[in-house]
């Protein structure tokens, strides 16, 4: 059993954010490294603005396609309240990589429910290690909001059991054949995602040192 270490990555967000694509790229990256891999998704009615999650599991041999609560190594949240919603899936010491965008659903904007003031603070208060940054702002600075996907993947690239450059190649490879003009900007986005995560990691180390 002990030689069968499984990496569990939960990608979450809302319908239309690119959760499935990010999970697909992660899965392909793992396969390219020779891992067995399963990728599970909940779609269906979720396509209509609902909650979307995708479970990516890879290792020597993967059995169940779903991540058991409390065992996720990495939570990739494309939306901040969704990050808080799924944080209990993390194992102790797992990390939540959170895009700080707030997507307010109609049930909130119509006043039926409240959007939490600070979901990241809630997660931290529960003891979760959170790396949060505004991936949307980075994407906008690069001129294309669709780059959020690449930025988020860049952000977790240094936390995987294979080199970040291999994940980058998965993304860039997709564009090289279909949209070569997008290669450079995706490389840049990937790098900025990595930097954002690094800055956060540095910040939390300093914080820990000061305490």
């Amino acid at each position: 059993m002990s030689d069968n270490l499984i990496t569990n990555i939960l990608v979450c967000g809302t319908g239309g954010q690119g959760v499935m694509t990010a999970a697909e790229i992660l899965a392909q990256g793992a396969i390219a490294k020779g891992y067995d891999c399963k990728k599970s998704e909940v779609a269906g009615m979720a396509q209509r603005g609902g909650v979307v999650t995708s479970h990516v599991r890879f290792g020597k041999k993967v059995w169940s396609p779903v991540i058991t609560p409390g065992t996720a190594d990495i939570l990739v949240a494309f939306e901040v309240a969704e990050g808080a919603r799924w944080a209990d899936m993390l194992r102790p010491g797992g990390i939540a990589m959170v895009n700080t965008i707030r997507l307010v659903p109609p049930v909130v904007s119509s006043g039926l429910f409240k959007y939490p003031e600070d979901p990241v603070a809630t997660m931290r208060a529960a003891g979760v290690t959170v790396y949060d940054f505004d991936a949307g702002a980075i994407a906008r600075s690069l001129g294309d909001l669709r780059l959020i996907n690449t930025i988020m993947l860049g952000a977790i690239a240094d936390f995987l059991p294979f080199p970040a450059s291999d994940l980058e190649e998965q993304i860039v490879g997709r564009f090289r054949t279909r949209k070569p003009a997008m290669v450079e900007v995706n490389q840049k986005a990937f790098e900025l995602g990595r930097e954002a995560a690094r800055a956060q990691a540095e910040g939390s180390r300093k914080l820990a040192a000061n305490q």
Binding site: K38, T68, D88, G111
Partner: protein
């Protein structure tokens, strides 16, 4: 083009169960494949359509899709049909007699159970059809098995002269895993044999077939007992052994890596003798099946009383490790291991919503304005969301096409209190053609007092936008004859003056029309004709914005229900003798807005204006 379609034999690919089955169907030499869309089964036919050398179609409903497959099988071709679990309820009339008649070309029916209800109105265990119809059931546990088993199913079908059910669940259909693919078997088709007479199921012929069906089932039982699709995974921890199938096998293996497991792939007829032998090798036996205790009860009936199953495990939903581990630990008298470290946090619900500019919103906004006067019988599709906030304008949803029959029943069962209520049924274009037409015919035939809203958005929306007989396009996007809904409902007997076509974006027109028709006590049909915003027929217009100074905070536009509109600021006005007034000042996300104009129609003070100057034509 999909990678799976182009992949050469022996390639290893990451495929969903649906994609893997499509490849398997093509490799099995299938000539005809048919389906009606339904989550989680839809992608099977979408993928099959990409392969060469076979015919694939969207049928108008599951029963017709099975009939198409039956006709092909009778003609000697291998045929495939896919549906979601509730689809078999529709197809079962054809199915229950086909099983008696048998096959020529292999006939495989894939049924996808939505275990856990990600997008369905109920949870059914389709393995029961095996016992009910005396046909074999195969149950894959991942994509590779789905691929292998669909091919095996065609061989079993032809060898035993029976249709074969391939039972899937959402965790097969929508999980991607590695699959090694093979080559197509270019099997010749014999053509229909007109002299056979074996297909005419008159009572006498059918009676003669019954003993053959029983004998066939006995043969299938022997086959299941010896099948290589049933595998024993010998484990070292003999305290508890498991009998399981499908994705539940994966969860068992994950949870108890050292336990002995009898993994069923050929699940009906249940391989009782083989399981009895396995039982003798373990201290205790637990049957882990999603969702009903079908195998468990069969084993108990065969005298294997000392086993466990649903006494320990839930009868609904998925049996994932977080369910299995505590249950089995408890059974063994041990403290279950700690599960989560961090607390569960529920910020707010995020239910599915209608898309910005969805034409259904106009209908439900209008119905919500008439709420006190109408009972609303709904149907299955995106428009089921009309039951939710802010419209709350849908009172029933039972099954595909049920809205009109149920509306007629409501009409005929009025009480003193409801005698003046108007009864409205709401149904989409694809659902109307699937099973709805007969309900409308019944309203006309029996002089019902029902106003039917036929929401024609030119697609099958909820399943992701598939073509149907009302879109004018086929599965491959090719042009086909398009149903004229107005002519169709007139032919069913609705008076021409009671049939209206209306643009659902024109809220005042729609409002007047619905009010007019519910006051006339005879069958009427209002057809809304805006395409789905996600369809190729939809054209985006100039977006709108809210002029802050003109917004009075009435909140009418919020009640349209468009996700592009949100409340920017609320203001509570306290009143002494009356409830507080809550002012909701709004804003429009111009990136989401498609310029449909519905909110403009709802805005009294005309505070919603185009975001850019509109070109005058």
């Amino acid at each position: 083009m999909s990678a799976a379609v182009q992949a050469k034999a022996a390639s290893r690919l990451l495929l969903s169960g649906n994609e893997a089955i499509a490849r398997g169907v093509w490799e099995a030499g299938v000539k005809v494949a048919a389906a009606y869309p339904g989550t989680p089964s839809t992608e099977m036919l979408e993928q099959i359509a990409l392969y060469p050398d076979l015919y694939a179609e969207w049928s108008v409903n599951e029963k017709v899709s099975l009939e198409v497959a039956i006709g092909a099988s009778m003609s000697g071709a291998r045929a495939f049909c896919a549906m979601k679990h509730v689809g078999m309820n529709v197809a079962s009339d054809a199915f229950m007699t086909q099983t008696l008649a048998g096959v020529v070309g292999g006939l495989v029916i894939a049924i996808a159970d939505d275990v856990g209800l990600s997008s369905s109105q109920n949870e059914q265990d389709s393995r029961f059809w095996g016992r009910f119809a005396h046909v074999p059931v195969l149950e894959p546990a991942d994509s590779q098995e789905a691929f292998d088993m669909v091919k095996a199913a065609f061989d079993i079908s032809e060898q035993y002269n029976t249709p074969v059910l391939l039972r899937l669940t959402t965790r097969i259909c929508h999980v991607k895993a590695l699959v090694t693919v093979g080559e197509r078997n270019n099997r010749a088709t014999t053509g229909f044999d007109i002299t056979a007479k074996r297909w005419v199921m008159t009572p006498n012929n059918a009676k003669a077939m019954l003993p053959k069906q029983i004998a066939r089932e006995d043969e299938l039982r022997k086959a299941a007992e010896a099948s290589v699709l049933n595998v024993i995974d010998a484990g070292t921890d003999k305290r508890v052994g498991f009998v399981t199938s499908g994705p539940a096998f994966m969860h068992v293996r994950e949870s108890f890596p050292d336990a002995p497991v009898f993994k069923m792939g050929f699940t009906y007829p249940v391989p009782v003798q083989a399981i009895k032998a396995f039982r003798a090798t373990v201290d205790h036996l637990i049957v882990v099946e999603e969702t009903e205790p079908l195998v468990e009860n069969e084993l108990k009936a065969a005298g294997l009383q000392d086993i466990h199953g649903k006494d320990l495990l839930p009868r609904l939903g998925e049996l994932t490790p977080n369910i299995l581990i505590p249950a089995v630990f408890k059974f063994r008298g041990e403290e279950p291991p700690a599960t989560t470290t961090y607390p569960k946090y529920e910020p707010f619900p995020r239910p599915p919503t209608m898309c910005p500019a969805c034409p259904h919103m106009g209908v439900y906004y209008t119905l919500s304005r008439l709420r006190k006067r109408v009972q609303i019988s709904g149907d299955i599709g995106c428009y089921t969301l009309g039951a939710g906030s802010p419209w709350n304008a849908l009172d029933t949803t039972i099954s595909m096409g049920a809205s009109m029959g149920i509306a007629l029943g409501m009409d005929k069962a009025r009480s003193e209190e409801t005698k003046d209520k108007a009864i409205v049924s709401v149904i989409g274009d694809s659902t109307f053609l699937h099973m709805g037409m007969q309900g409308l015919l019944d309203i006309v035939y029996n002089r019902g007092n029902v106003t039917t809203l036929l929401l024609d958005n030119r697609t099958t929306g909820m399943t992701g936008g598939q073509n149907h007989a009302g879109t004018g396009k086929g599965l491959h996007g090719e042009d086909t004859p398009r149903v004229d809904f107005a002519q169709l409902v007139e032919a069913l007997g609705v008076k021409a003056e009671r049939i209206h076509k209306v643009d659902p974006y024109k809220l005042p027109v729609l409002f007047k029309l619905i009010r007019q028709e519910i006051d006339i006590h005879e069958p009427s049909v209002i057809i809304t004709d805006r395409p789905c915003v996600l369809s190729e027929f939809y054209g985006k217009l100039t977006p709108y914005l809210v002029v802050d100074n003109d917004c009075t905070g009435c909140g009418n536009c919020i009640n349209v229900g468009c996700p592009a509109i949100s409340v920017k600021k609320t203001e509570v006005i306290k009143r002494d003798a009356a409830p507080d007034i809550v002012k909701k000042y709004t804003t429009i996300d111009t990136a989401m807005c498609t310029g449909c104009h519905m909110c403009v129609e709802s805005c009294g003070p005309k505070a919603i204006v185009p975001a850019q100057p509109v070109a005058v034509d």
